[in-house]
Subunit: 247 residues, 2 copies
Amino acid sequence: MSENRALKTVNLSVIKTACSNCNLRELCLPLGLNSLEMAKLEEIVSNRKRVKRGDLLYRAGEPFEALYAIRSGFFKTDVIMEDGRDQVTGFQMSGELLGLDGISNENHSCNAIALEDSEVCLIPFDHLERLSRQVPTLQNHFHKVMSREIVRDHGVMMLLGTMRAEERLAAFLLNLSQRFVARGYSPAEFYLRMTREEIGSYLGLKLETVSRSFSKFQEEGLIAVQQKHIRILDIPGLKRLMNHGQG
Amino acid sequence: MSENRALKTVNLSVIKTACSNCNLRELCLPLGLNSLEMAKLEEIVSNRKRVKRGDLLYRAGEPFEALYAIRSGFFKTDVIMEDGRDQVTGFQMSGELLGLDGISNENHSCNAIALEDSEVCLIPFDHLERLSRQVPTLQNHFHKVMSREIVRDHGVMMLLGTMRAEERLAAFLLNLSQRFVARGYSPAEFYLRMTREEIGSYLGLKLETVSRSFSKFQEEGLIAVQQKHIRILDIPGLKRLMNHGQG
DNA sequence: CGACCTTTTGAACGTATTCAACCGATGTGG
DNA sequence: CCACATCGGTTGAATACGTTCAAAAGGTCG
């Protein structure tokens, strides 16, 4: 009732972030909140921010103040060692939260870089903590989001620690596929937003190995690949490949 | 009161968990709490549990109900794939929290196994959430603990994704050393609680490679190793080795 | 004390990397 | 709008690193 949802000539740029209208609310922080609770969350999700392709949303070492919910676009996070080597720690897409690494010591510990023009919702962390003390549903869901990140990381460790090159790539493609499905896109056809080198960094492989593995998958009829455009032709085949590691 | 564990002469086993007396309180969940807050925490840290060497504290798939603070002892966590391959995701020592992985979907996603006779404090998770709604310091600290786990995992990804065998082992030894120091033990001399195979699983290497790398370090005068007994002779040397990856 | 598990070490092997050349796509400035 | 420069991707051949297989020695625990 006393909701926004304007009449006529309300300038688009004035429309505040409205989680309740966001089609990502089932993937994002508002999951499970009732409309009253959602309204409270909207109050603290203060602003949106645009990040152009190639730009950093935040940088390792910067003070941590807010989490970011990806409204649209695609990001990578990476960590860089003193000697220059870097490791991509994840690829994030719409509805996912960026910045959780910064809570630990109030400084970001990785870089977040937009792989395409993107838009994020700012969630000042002190506000989020305050609100989640009042809204148990939000509190619990936030804890689950953090925990899910830990579980995801364990999956990456498994991938890096025990899988061969082609298994890693298969796992990577299947994971992307799943996440696209959850967003209403095709599970079988998508554009990669990242380069072979970035995929390689994430998977602990060199870009040449990634490229060779793509070619091999194509030869075997598992996928059709043309640069960044991927069509998965045989999902069960990829799954089989993934779980038949060392024979 | 209606508790088990009979009375008689103030039996030692009756003494309740008392965070305020625990010498791990500066490493563990109570960090930063005042005495009133600590008292509240003690109320919910209900019981202790002994876990014998080789026994599982929890198992992947089991329903998640509580976190566990390690009071004494040493654990590993691992994840097992359908095809039997397994990945050690971490080694945990006193003052560290086990079970964070279970929050995400209310089921544990890894196994926690005691590598020596150990004792843990049970922290029922619903109680913890309730209390952390009342105690902002606790809430914030808990968030930091979870975030720290995420940052740690990123470090492991870096290790698995970009480091060579010897660098990984050096990083592993230096990490253990640091953690022992934080607990008042020697940074340079300690017993490994895990086998070469478990180290290898954690580091994404085979046990033979771990063994060979230990021998190499010994030849180079970096460490003295005798089975599970380690003496680090040249910490700066190990650090150098770790950061001079690909030349 | 004997059985078993862990660790060490050697030699052959295999997978991913490195180095290099080439091709195609993309984007910018004249 | 085209030409050119740059970046990203593919593919081949040689190499290197860690793995695999194997044997034996050293510890540990019933």
